[in-house]
């Protein structure tokens, strides 16, 4: 497969996808094509089977107990919106990290404005490291939900979710984890990590296509559905049904996307999460070391490969982040993302909320040579601007 340039924006979406994913999606579109949960003919039953299989594999990957409690949404933002808006009520208190992506931050701020919920953010170091003991100090009688990103999409810092989950359980507070930067790239277990609801995206570390994501319910919880509509069966009943997964899935699902995601999960199984993490950690460590050699560079975050996922943000003195990424793309076909990365919260911690930063997102298909080319390019850009 020929790939143009060097793709280092896997934190936005992963590229390339395994060939088998694309092949399976094409086969589905050519030979099956039917939607799931509606017709009862052979190809519709096959579509049902493929979707169920994907639910089962998600369950297996995260050690969920029931495939019916794997709910598909169009992306993790929708999953987070369903839970946050469907669960929280007037006057509820929520505890969250200081590093949340807008997918969490905006719904919370909107509820604060419109429904008077209270938000407490847990402080962290300027590298994005959170002490889980600080979470417990913020719990109050009206605390209903703790929401934490598993790893920051700007600093890369991995958050102590197992310990936070334990605290949540102790105080009978629900715990929602945003695994956008970790699912498929870092080991996770909803039981051992004490996670009540795990929101996931299909198109980053899970190596599936865009338009896929969802959440896993690992507790009894009353969440008002965000959408109502056709669920395939029970058509006379005028409301969303109580049973799963249909309660939170109205309308035609992204069948071709979910089929692709199922195949992507096969790929992840065949490689193994531990091996994926091992490879990425090696490249992260190599990347940090090599980046340090670039003159006038300031690298943000923990700068230790065991403390971060494949996300490294930096700035070079006297050169705007946007100019760096423009030059990287124009002259060297290297794709990175500059700006605030939909996470002004994290940039506030870093002190870069007015200037943003350049972010590289390392994924499973990156190699050390990509880092070498990046560093060479950064040095040349630096010389050009001096």
């Amino acid at each position: 497969m020929f790939i143009l340039g060097i793709y280092l924006d896997n934190a936005a979406t992963s590229f390339p996808k395994p060939y088998a994913v694309m092949k399976k999606m094409m086969e589905y579109m050519q030979n099956i094509g039917a939607t799931s949960g509606r017709g009862a003919y052979k190809t519709a039953i096959e579509a049902d089977r493929l979707i169920y299989n994907c639910r089962k594999m998600i369950c297996k990957l995260f050690n969920g107990s029931d495939p019916a409690k794997v709910i598909f949404t169009s992306n993790i933002t929708e999953a987070l919106n369903v839970v946050i808006n469907g669960f929280l009520k007037e006057g509820d208190h929520v505890i969250t990290s200081s590093l949340e992506h807008n997918a969490v931050w905006r719904p919370l701020k909107t509820l604060e404005r419109d429904k008077n919920i209270e938000i407490s953010t847990v402080c962290c170091t300027d590298e994005g490291i959170t002490d889980y003991n600080d979470v417990e100090k913020l719990i109050k009688p009206n605390t209903k939900l703790i929401i934490f990103t598993h790893a920051s999409n700007v600093l890369g810092a991995i958050q102590p979710i197992r310990e936070i989950g334990r605290i949540a359980k102790k105080h009978k507070v629900k715990f929602l984890v945003d695994s956008a930067q970790t699912a498929g790239a870092y080991p996770m277990d909803v039981q051992k990590d004490n996670i009540d609801i795990l929101a996931f995206t299909g198109h980053k570390g899970l190596l599936g296509p865009t338009g896929t994501g969802g959440f896993i319910l690992n507790c009894d919880i009353d969440i008002n559905p965000l959408k109502s509509g056709g669920t395939g069966g029970d058509s006379k009943y005028p409301y969303q049904p109580d049973y799963f997964p249909n309660r939170y899935e109205a309308g035609t699902p992204n069948v071709v996307g979910i089929v692709g995601l199922g195949e992507a999960l096969n790929f992840i199984y065949s490689v193994g999460i531990k091996n994926i993490r091992k490879k990425e950690e090696e490249i992260i460590e190599y990347g940090i070391e090599r980046l340090k050699s670039v003159k006038e560079i300031e690298i943000y975050g923990p700068k230790k490969s065991d403390k971060i996922v494949g996300v490294v943000s930096f700035n070079i003195k006297n050169i705007k982040a946007e100019e760096i990424s423009y030059e990287l793309d124009k002259q060297y076909d290297i794709m990175v993302r500059s700006g605030l990365h939909c996470a002004p919260t994290a940039h506030k911690i870093m002190g870069t909320e007015n200037i943003g930063a350049v972010r590289i997102g390392i994924g499973y298909f990156n190699e050390k040579e990509h880092i070498d080319t990046l560093v060479e390019a950064l040095n040349k850009i630096q010389n050009k601007y001096m």
Partner: protein
């Protein structure tokens, strides 16, 4: 693995409960020989060596296993259908793997006697069901000619528990 695959053949709205579904699925291997072991492992199942078939309930779903296929009534939705197929496949394979340590049970569960059914009926002989007496209605229930919803008196609140018991007794017949 003894049973490699269970393939869904069709899915339809359930006759017993309109909000539920029923479905039929095909086995990749003949499971007749496993049934006496299932009869031992699964409590409150009903084995019929003549068909052969093995019927049991799992959380309200009624599962009928035949030599080469299965039918299920009162499943929730298609996700549930696949979940039940997984459950049955695992059950059959685990039972097969452990069969040397299981005592097979060839006993066929007896149908309840007409008098047992009668004991739960209102005994008013009101004839609303089309039968002259409740004992006649009980016999017809056992042969499947009549169904419980044809007894209007059983719909009354005071018979709620008895109706439930009758449903349980008749379900596996």
């Amino acid at each position: 693995m003894y049973l490699n695959n269970i393939k869904l053949l069709f899915i339809q709205p359930c006759v017993a409960e309109s909000k539920k579904i029923r479905f039929k699925a095909e086995f990749s291997s003949d499971v007749s020989n496993i049934m006496p072991y299932l009869n031992s492992v699964v409590k409150n199942g009903s084995y019929n060596s003549n068909m052969p078939s093995f019927t049991f309930k799992k959380d309200n779903r009624l599962i009928n296993i035949y030599a080469n296929d299965m039918t299920v009534a009162k499943a929730i939705n298609e996700t549930d259908a696949y979940s039940i197929m997984d459950f049955v496949k695992d059950l059959i394979n685990e039972t097969y793997d452990n069969k040397n340590s299981i005592e097979p049970n060839y006993e066929m569960r007896k149908k309840p006697a007409a008098f047992k059914i009668y004991s739960y009926l209102p005994k008013k002989n009101c004839k609303k069901c089309g039968e002259t007496t409740c004992i006649a209605f009980a016999s017809k229930l056992l042969t499947g000619v009549k169904t419980l919803n044809q007894c209007a008196v059983l719909e009354e609140e005071q018979y709620k528990e008895k109706l439930k018991s009758l449903n349980d007794l008749l379900e596996l017949v």
